[in-house]
């Protein structure tokens, strides 16, 4: 098989899902002729038609709200939100309708909706185009939240999400869309399972989405100093695969969570809480977070410093080892 970029892998995954199930629809702004602003849906409207790949009016509440109705009618909508910062006009529909319908109907109405959101920064964009809003969704009962970090996962995870009968908010690290190409794994890995992407024994680095590549680079740099960092790609933010995390922490005794999202009340906080509940006696140091700061996403001229980077991750490694 040939190597693909993440954008192309998602495109192939979407294509496969549409071929496999005629109920799968794609809807969003500019997803048709343009193929999406990142070209993830490139060519799909041409091949599947305007009634399966729908350029919607410019209204996110409309996109999500009509997806709810389509789901009630038996369809499997895949909604594209153009950028992270533009999900909020649709937030009410996601939190109050998509997330709750199954529960309110006592299990009679399912919401097999996938909400794709390009997220994260590092592309020099203007405001609202670089945010990491995953915690809002993970905090909402009834939603599942995943993030892919590489082309193969992108290909398989998007298909698994579309096939899921639960609604899934699917985060795509936009700065990785056209980064490295890689081959696709022949088989999918379970959707809600974390994966060790680099084994090590000194400190565990836990990351997802765009920060997996950063964690791997940091581990490579640390190896030059004789530090063996284990890197876990979380993949699923909600539900969390705690057994995999705990297993690693029991071996290394040290955990650092890395995310672009702001520091407080985020995914890192949840993981830290659970690790101290579940592996207290294995910990050699407090769980640390390397994250964005508790500010709005900064002007792009400062984003590379504001975002977690190798320097900040390695500082945290030293801090962890210093306990």
């Amino acid at each position: 098989m040939t190597a693909l970029t993440m954008a192309k892998a998602l495109n192939e995954g979407l294509r496969k899902a549409m071929e496999d199930d005629p109920k799968v629809l794609i809807m969003g702004e500019d997803v048709g002729k343009l193929g999406g602003v990142f070209r993830v849906t490139d060519g799909l409207q041409k091949d599947f038609g305007e009634d399966r790949v729908i350029d919607t009016p410019l209204a996110e509440s409309g996109i999500i709200g009509t997806a709810v109705g389509l789901a009630i009618r038996g369809y499997r909508p895949v909604c594209e939100i153009q950028f992270d910062g533009f999900v909020f006009p649709g937030f009410d529909q996601i939190v109050s309708q998509v997330a709750k319908m199954y529960n309110r109907s006592a299990g009679l109405v399912r919401m097999p909706i996938t909400i794709r959101i390009p997220f994260g920064g590092g592309i020099g964009a203007v405001e609202h185009h670089s945010e990491s809003p995953e915690a809002y969704f993970a905090h909402t009962a009834g939603l599942k939240v995943v993030a892919c970090s590489n082309p193969s996962d992108a290909y398989w995870m998007i298909q698994q999400s579309i096939a899921s009968d639960d609604p899934i908010v699917f985060f795509e690290p936009k700065r990785r869309y056209h980064a490295a190409k890689s081959e696709l794994d022949p088989e999918p890995y379970p959707l809600h399972q974390a994966r060790v992407v680099r084994p090590g024994r000194d400190v565990t680095l836990l990351a997802y989405g765009p920060m997996v590549a950063m964690a791997l680079e940091s581990a490579a740099a640390a190896a030059e100093d004789g530090r063996e960092l284990e890197v876990i790609d979380l993949r699923s933010i909600s539900p969390l695969d705690m057994p995999s995390v705990i297993e690693s922490v029991e071996r290394t005794g040290r955990l650092i969570v890395v995310h672009e999202a702001p520091h407080s009340f985020g995914v890192g906080a949840e993981i830290a809480a659970r690790v101290q509940e579940q592996a207290f006696y294995s910990l050699e140091a407090p769980v640390l977070r390397v994250s964005g700061y508790d500010t709005p996403y900064p002007p792009s001229r400062l984003e590379n410093e504001w975002l977690p980077n190798i320097d900040r991750i390695l500082d945290a490694v030293e801090q962890s080892l210093g306990y």
């Binding site: 009634d51 006009p89 203007v126 405001e127 609202h128 508790d294 500010t295 002007p299 900040r312």
Partner: protein
Amino acid sequence: MTEHVRAVQPEPDMVQLLTPEGQRVEHPDYPLDITDEQIAALYRDLVLVRRIDTEAIALQRQGELGLWASLLGQEAAQVGAGRALRKHDMAFPTYREHGVAWCRDVDPMSLLGLFRGTNLGGFNPHEHNFNMYTIVIGAQTLHATGYAMGVVRDGAVGTGDPERDTAVLAFFGDGASSQGDVNEAFVFAAAGNLPVVFFCQNNQWAISEPVTTQSRVPLYKRASGFGFPGMRIDGNDVLASLAVTRKALDDARNAQGPTLIEAFTYRMNPHTTNDDTRRYRLGSEAETWKLKDPIARVKAYLLREAKISADFFTDLEQESKRLAEHIRAGCRALPDPTPESVFEHVHVDMPNELREQRDDFAAFVSSIEEVSA
């Protein structure tokens, strides 16, 4: 679904006071008393805002700006509307209203920080009664409506005192007309009979989506369903834009309530410097619109009908060059944000924990600067 319903209404009448050939025409509802000197002044605005746009695009190409949203083709709509405002009126732009900013005396440099990535807005809306740019589509129409609610509560409408009566002008695009926020703004404005004018630049495209994706009826007709007047103007005609906006703002100030103006125009350039129009529209479309250029028609009028000296045009050329130089030099000189600045103004009262983060961040940035120095 495959058989998409396209706009079913015939092309409606639109207000035009200056034809593409540069002929003045009268409209019974919009008499415009204007001297040739005043038309020449509008011409100057049009030429200079196009120059700002051209320079910004060039700066983006040179890597000095991260992005630029071009106004090419929309100069007349913006300058007409901008010049219809009085000093104490308030305007709420999208991210493309560089021409309105110009008319409000906002230094073009104040607009560039957002696109260069040195700030997130960064100018005082009260200084020129021009709000910061809003990127989240449609949100500003509600802000304009709320501002108009405040104007009413302050007793600043319908007094007959031109120094006191105030109107609000809200800009948005054809794509934005689909957003809930915009429709809610219409509802609030109608319910409160508010002094707000909704100015929609229908430039035919919302990135790759034609206006027919948003609406089956001409957009100005939406107003009647909300209970206020709507009209369409030739958006490439600066005189029509001036006259119709002036009338709508007068109505607003006189407590006659809101108006929707649809300026029928065309986005000549890609959506932003990141966009590629070849994927979704034919180049011939722009060629057709070129014949309706907003600047050429004013020039034709001035050369043929008005006694404007040749010096005016050469002086303007010089002024345009100086403005370009100001933008080029000023853009490169825009100060980079300091690490501390990211933490300033997050809260009025900075929490201690944020202060600690600020100090950590500043120390981190200076440590890497030392290493690289």
